[in-house]
Symmetry: C2
Subunit: 430 residues, 2 copies
C-alpha cells in the first residue's frame, strides 16, 4: 500500500445507450442518449470508474479535465473542482440559460463543472477503494443501512419510437397513455423488481388525466407511497388544485411549478410536501429556497451536485434546516447506480426510496448489472464501487456513439420527429 | 488488506495535564485539567487514537461507548453517534443548562454525545489510515493545502497559580495583566513559533483596558490580523462601543455578547465581522443564527461538532450560506492538534488562521510533539494522523489523574481559590 497514489491516466469514453420513448413535459426521450464513462488509472495499478451525462459540453469538459488530472494525487478529490474550473475555458461565452434536454434545473458553468467532476470523483473513490480494500461507503463515513430502496419510476410512453427508430426490436413494455396503462406498468414493476413505491412522470397530459392516473394507482396499490412529477409544468393555481384533489394520496408532489416563489405558495396553501430537482439543483440556490420554505424534499443527483462527498454535504445542510433528502435520477447505467447506492447507504436521513431510471435501460457497461430485490439493492462490501467494466459492452456502445453521431439529448427535438408542430413548451404548460 | 476491519477493543484513558493560570470572563484555568485519550484496536492489528474533553460526564459516556464499540465495523463512523446516544442513559435527568467550566456554548446531551464521539471518530480514522496506508486528510477528501496556519492565542495571566499550586516550577512566561504584558507575550509567541496573527482572550478586565491592549498590539505588530474574544462578556452597547473604538484594527470580534439577537444587533450597527464558538456550537443553532446574520465566522471545534466528517459538513453549510469558517480551540494536546490540522487541510474555505491553546501546554502524550514553523504546521502524508502515543507520558499523566482526583474543569472555582468572594459572573459582565 502506497501512501500517496497518483493518477497516471484518465480515459473518457462517450457512449450511446438505448432509451425507450418516455414522455415528459418537454417532449420525449430520444432513441439514443449519450453518457460518459470515465476511467482513472493509478500508479498502484488500480483503476476506478465513473459515469456522467454525455452531451457535447460534458464530453468536452471531461476530456479537458482528463488531460489535466494525470500526475495528481488520487485522494485530492476537492482539487478536481479547481482543475475542472480551469479546464472550462469558454473564451467569454456564457452558458446557455436553459437546457432543453435535461429538466435539470437552472443551467450554470458551476453545475457543468460539478457534473463532470462527479464522474472523476466517483472513479477516484472506486480506485481508492481498490487500493485500500475498502468499499466506497466505508470511504464516505460508513454505511448506516444494508439495503437501499428504490422507487418504481413510471412514465407515460409509446410502445416504440416514431418510425421504429432506435433499438430493434423495441422493448416489450408497450404503450402507457392512460390510467390503465400506468397501472399495468406499475404492476410489472412491482412483479419484476418488487418496488414498493411509485413515481409517475407527469406534465404530459392535462392535469385531470394525471390525477386520474394517481387515483388509479392508489386504488391498485393501497398504502404504496406515490409521487407525481410534472417537471414544473403547472401554474400555482393548477398545482394547488391537483394537490387538493390528491389530498392524502401523495407522499410528495415533485416540482409542480417552476419557481421558488410558486413552490412556496403551493406548499403554504396546501401543506403538501414538495420535492425538487429543478428549483434547487445547486448549493447557491439553497438559502433562498429554504428560507422561503419552498421545498421540503431535495432530490439530489450526485452528478450535478458534484459527487458523493458533495452529496453528503448536501445531506448535512438538509438535515440542519429540517429539509428531507432523497435521490433524483436521470437516464443512467450501473456505474452511477452503484455510486448512488453507496452514497445513499451512508446518509442517515435518506428515508424516501430513491428514484432510478435504470430499469428502463436494456443495456449496461458492467459485467454484473444490478438486480433489484424487493425494490432494493444490497450495499456491497467489496472494494470500491463493487462493479467491473464489461469491456465488450463498453466498446460496442462507444462504437455506436461513433457511428450514429448523436451528441446530445434533446427531448423537444425528439418530440418534433413525431409532431412537426411541437415547440419547446413554455413552463408552466398547464 | 481486509475489506471490513472491525474494532476489537476501545480503551479510554483519563489524564490530567498541567495548565497555566490563564484568565477569562468566568475565572481562571485550574492547575490541572482533565482530558481523555481514546485508543481503538482493530482485528487488523492497527490502533487508532483520539482525544477529547475529560470532565466526568465525558469520561462516563466515553467509557460506556467503549464497551459498545467492540465488534463493530471500524468504518461505520456514523454509527458511533447512535451507539453513544444509546450509551447516554440519564434515566430522565436532563443535562445541566450551563457549563461553568467550558465557555463552550449551550450545553446539551447532543453536544456531549458529539464531543465523545469525536474522539472515537478520530481514532477510527487514524486506524483506518494505518490499515490503508492513507493519511487522515486523504480519507476526508484530500488536502487542499500543505500547511495549516495557527494564530497566537494571547491570555491575560498570572505568573503562577495561587499558593504555587500546579506544575512546579511554574512555566517561565510570567504575568500578563496589562497592554505591555500582552505585547511581551505576543512578541515571545512571534519569536518562538512565528505566529502571524493574534487573538486576545478578553472579558477579563474593563473593556477600556482590553481596547488599550489591542491598540498596543496593533502598534507593535502592524498589519497582523488581531482578534478579541470576551466570551460573551459584554452588553450590546459595550460591544458596539468596543467595535467602534477598534474600527479597522480587528480581523473579527469573537462572541462580544452572549445572545444571537445581541450578536445580530452588534453586527448590524457596526459592520464588524463577528465570530463565535458560543452562540453557534451545534447544527441546531445554525438556522436561527444564520438567518439573523448574527455570525460571520463560525469557529468550529471538531470535538463538540462531532468529529472531522461533521466539521466538513459544517464547512459545507457555512460555504452555502456565505459564512466563514475557522477553528476554535480549548486546552488540548497533540492528538487533537493533529486532527485539527488534517481537517483544516481539507476545507477550502478555511482562510483564517486557526486557534490553538497547544503552546500553553508543557506536556504531551505523543512522541514527537508538533513544532510550529512560521506559525503553521505541515500537513503530514504519513498514514493516519501521523502521531505516535508516548506510552510513558500517557501512563504518567494517567497516574496523576488517579492521584490528584481532579475530575472536572471549573474556572469559577479556580478563581475562588484566589478570591473567596468570586461568584460565577452573570453574562454580560460589562
Amino acid at each position: 500500500v502506497s501512501g500517496a497514489p497518483h493518477i497516471t491516466r484518465a480515459t473518457v469514453t462517450p457512449i450511446l445507450i438505448a432509451d425507450p420513448p418516455l414522455l415528459n413535459v418537454l417532449g420525449v426521450h430520444q432513441p439514443w442518449t449519450p453518457r460518459l464513462i470515465v476511467e482513472l488509472e493509478t500508479d498502484d495499478g488500480a483503476v476506478g470508474v465513473g459515469e456522467t451525462y454525455g452531451d457535447t459540453e460534458y464530453l468536452e469538459l471531461a476530456s479537458a479535465l482528463a488531460e489535466r488530472v494525470a500526475g495528481h494525487p488520487l485522494t485530492r478529490l476537492s482539487q478536481l473542482m479547481a482543475l475542472a474550473a480551469q479546464a472550462l475555458d469558454r473564451a467569454g461565452e456564457p452558458a446557455a440559460e436553459f437546457d432543453p434536454a435535461g429538466l435539470r434545473g437552472r443551467r450554470s458553468d458551476e453545475k457543468l463543472v460539478r457534473s463532470v467532476v462527479s464522474a472523476f470523483e466517483v472513479a477516484a473513490l472506486d480506485a481508492l477503494g481498490h487500493i485500500t480494500g475498502q468499499p466506497v461507503h466505508a470511504l464516505l463515513g460508513g454505511k448506516v443501512r444494508e439495503r437501499v430502496e428504490y422507487s418504481g419510476y413510471l412514465f407515460y410512453r409509446w410502445a416504440e419510437h416514431p418510425h421504429g427508430a432506435g433499438e430493434a426490436p423495441a422493448d416489450d413494455w408497450g404503450a402507457a397513455l392512460d390510467p390503465d396503462g400506468v397501472v399495468r406498468q406499475a404492476q410489472r414493476f412491482a412483479d419484476s423488481y418488487g418496488f414498493r413505491s411509485f413515481k409517475l412522470k407527469g406534465g404530459v397530459f392535462a392535469p385531470d388525466e394525471e390525477i386520474a392516473a394517481i387515483k388509479a394507482l392508489a386504488e391498485a396499490f393501497p398504502g404504496y407511497p406515490l409521487r407525481l412529477d410534472p417537471n414544473g409544468g403547472w401554474s400555482v393555481e393548477t398545482s394547488v388544485r391537483v394537490a387538493e384533489e390528491l389530498d392524502g394520496l401523495l407522499e410528495y408532489l415533485e416540482d409542480p411549478t417552476p419557481t421558488v416563489v410558486g413552490m412556496a405558495e403551493v406548499h403554504r396553501r396546501t401543506g403538501v410536501p414538495l420535492a425538487t430537482n429543478m428549483c434547487v439543483t445547486s448549493f447557491g440556490e439553497i438559502p433562498a429556497a429554504f428560507s422561503a420554505d419552498a421545498v421540503q424534499v431535495v432530490l439530489s443527483d450526485h452528478h450535478y451536485w458534484g459527487g458523493l462527498q458533495a452529496t453528503r454535504e448536501l445531506a448535512a445542510i438538509c438535515r440542519t434546516f429540517g429539509v428531507a433528502l432523497s435521490m433524483h435520477s436521470n437516464t443512467h447505467l450501473g456505474i452511477s447506480l452503484a455510486a448512488m447506492t453507496h452514497v445513499a447507504a451512508v446518509v442517515p436521513e435518506l428515508v424516501y426510496a430513491c428514484d432510478t431510471h435504470r430499469p428502463w435501460q436494456t443495456e449496461d457497461v458492467i459485467t454484473r448489472p444490478h438486480v433489484f430485490v424487493d425494490g432494493a439493492l444490497e450495499v456491497p462490501d467489496t472494494p470500491g464501487l463493487g462493479v467491473e467494466v464489461d469491456r465488450d459492452a463498453l466498446a460496442a456502445l462507444h462504437e455506436r456513439w461513433l457511428e450514429l453521431g448523436v451528441r446530445g439529448r434533446d427531448d423537444v427535438a425528439a418530440m418534433r420527429v413525431a409532431d412537426s408542430d411541437w415547440e419547446q413548451p413554455t413552463l408552466p404548460r398547464f
